[in-house]
Amino acid sequence: MLKSVFEGNVNYLQVLDENGEVDVTLFPSDLKDEQVVEMYRQMCFARAMDAKVLSLQRQGRAVTYAPLIGEEATQVGSALAMRDGDYFVPNFRQHAVFAARGMPLDLILIYWRGYEEGLAIPESVKALPYIVPVASQLPHAAGIAFSQRYNKTDNATITYVGDGGTSQGDFYETLNFAGVFKLPLVTIIENNQWAISVPRSRQSAAQTLAQKGFAAGMDVVQVDGNDVIAVYKAVKDALEISKEAPTLIECVTYRMGMHTTADDPTKYRSEDEVAEWRMKDPISRLKKYLVKKALWNDGLEETMQEGQKKTIDAALEKAEAFKPDPKSIFEHVYSYMPDVLKEELDAAVESNFYEE
């Protein structure tokens, strides 16, 4: 006997195309004009903030930074679909998700200036800190989702991983775990086509990254990650069923900038490729839509830009006023201060931290 026992089908979702036209049949019925305008504002804010940190890094006022330019729709669309009390677990690139979820901007800047204090995230933000080892955040997200179920809340966890991250064992282990326990977990693959210099094609021979979810018994969808409305819709739909099942969402987007400020992309990718993706820019397509609907104009744009600049400058001033205390590196290692560590601390203090 030979019969088919499994069939998989991955849908690709796009609502807003590159010219700012929407597919009305797919447009979320609950999405109000003000919300779409808010999406636009948040995406512009993300891009402005990103440019700011990049320039700080170039001036030696920030550490190695991973820019998000190009990925605003994936981040803002998913963040705005989250509900109060939902948890999110980032990797190292979700600055816009943090901002949209109410993370104080000065903290984000303190982190990118190289201090742990930037990761003292207020309870209300409901997020884990930036996590650098690729894909290692995903098991934590599964655990948080497990605890949401265990604690009988109606909330879910949203986590992010890059295309490169989908090659890691932690990725497969997390999906599998979430599938078995039907956890309220939404995993978003922020597929920006590159993992430093390694192209998407070198990460997997699978046609889509979304289909990796099938092996864990999950619902999957592939989304135009530069279409903020499609991302919003996919995440909202996933959250709606999250009490019953986890979902894997692949957002197809593009890393317009360098991997990090330590990287030189001209070494491995062509300007033609970048130019092609520039045509699909997430912000300009949404702007076209808003202008067509008379929801946006130059005056609003100007006021918005001024306001955002002020917000960013104020946060930066606060972040740069932060004074690190070297004792803090000793004081948060354990729940109590062991004698042996106290001795190291005392010696360091006595020697003025070996100041040269």
């Binding site: 190695t64 190289g114 201090y115 690729v134 490169g164 890691q168 210099s197 070494k267 360091a348």
Partner: protein
């Protein structure tokens, strides 16, 4: 040729791939990008993508597949982008690379190298500055090497490529481009398992390695103290006899490493000296290391890793007894 450590390693890799067509390089971004520190720069053009292999982003399979290649006659040289990401492959190294030989009574051997940048001091992000040598040395069965200059880096890597053992090859990020040195063009070996006496002296012995070697040299020369500086070069197996010989002469020992102070290489060296030469010591042994907790964020690293002042104080203290 006059070169920094990156150039010396690049040259060593080229010679290794040239002399042995079973040798391959694999890792993340090692091909077109030439590695994030450019150690493999240009090698894909010389040897092709069959031998300089950009892998998917997954350290466990990079190291685990290297083990399989090595067992079946190849000579893999894996690059792990930063030591902090090598823990994903820890199980492969500890459970397998370290044990295949003994559990098959030398039928399966694992001639492979895993190279990775270690250490901090260059304001990198989290997890990019670890000094993990003690973890890999503790198990036994893995050879752990850490050069401190371009000449040793090239010779040790070539030696590692000729050895029939798994070698964890740790490259101090801070020293990659810190200084240049005259290095022979041709292939040569620096022995593994043999420390180098960097400078001779009779008042105290300083055992160190990696990033701390240039710093210790500077401190010693500015203090004008007669110190014997020993650069371990190989962490495991430890060159105990060079250390004991020196300590018996000087009667004083300071151990300096960048790794966390507690349960580290310094403890191992101190224990061996205590066991075998304690009556020849005139003063208690002093260890200098980073503080006993994980590497902090870059804004705090200067309060964490040993600097000239800390090393100098330790020298004063050991000489004051």
């Amino acid at each position: 040729m006059l070169t920094n450590m990156v150039g010396a390693l690049n040259n060593a890799l080229e010679l290794i791939l040239k002399e042995n067509d079973k040798a391959v390089i694999l890792g993340e971004d090692v091909g077109k990008d030439g590695g994030v520190f450019r150690v493999t720069d240009g090698l894909i053009d010389k040897f092709g993508s069959n031998r300089v292999i950009d892998t998917p982003l997954a350290e466990s399979v990079i190291i685990g597949a290297s083990i399989g290649m090595a067992i079946n006659g190849m000579r893999p040289i894996a690059e792990i982008q930063f030591a902090g990401f090598m823990y994903c492959g820890f199980e492969q190294l500890i459970n397998h690379a370290a044990r295949y030989r003994s559990r098959t009574r030398s039928k399966c051997t694992v001639p492979m190298i895993v190279r990775t940048p270690v250490g901090g001091g260059v304001r990198t992000l989290e997890h990019h500055s670890d000094s993990p040598e003690a973890y890999y040395s503790h198990i036994g069965g893995l050879i752990v090497v850490e050069p401190s200059n371009p000449y040793d880096a090239k010779g040790l890597l070539i030696r590692a490529a000729h050895l029939d053992d798994p070698v964890v090859f740790l490259e101090p990020t801070k020293l990659y481009r810190l200084f240049k040195q005259e290095v022979p063009e041709e292939s040569y070996e620096v022995p593994i398992g043999k420390a180098s006496v960097v400078s001779e002296g009779d008042k105290l012995t300083i055992v160190t390695y990696g990033t701390m070697v240039p710093l210790v040299k500077d401190v010693v020369s500015s203090k004008k103290v007669s110190a014997e500086i020993i650069d371990l070069r190989t962490i495991n197996p430890l060159d105990e006899s060079t250390i004991l010989e020196s300590v018996k002469k000087t009667g004083r020992l300071v151990i300096v490493h960048e790794a966390e102070l507690s349960f580290g290489v310094g403890a191992e060296v101190a224990a061996r000296v205590a066991e075998k030469a304690i009556f020849e010591l005139s003063a208690p042994i002093i260890r200098v290391g980073s503080h006993s907790f994980p590497y902090p964020f870059p804004g705090y690293e200067n309060y964490y890793i040993p600097n000239a002042v800390k090393i100098s104080k330790a020298i004063d203290k050991v000489l004051s007894v």
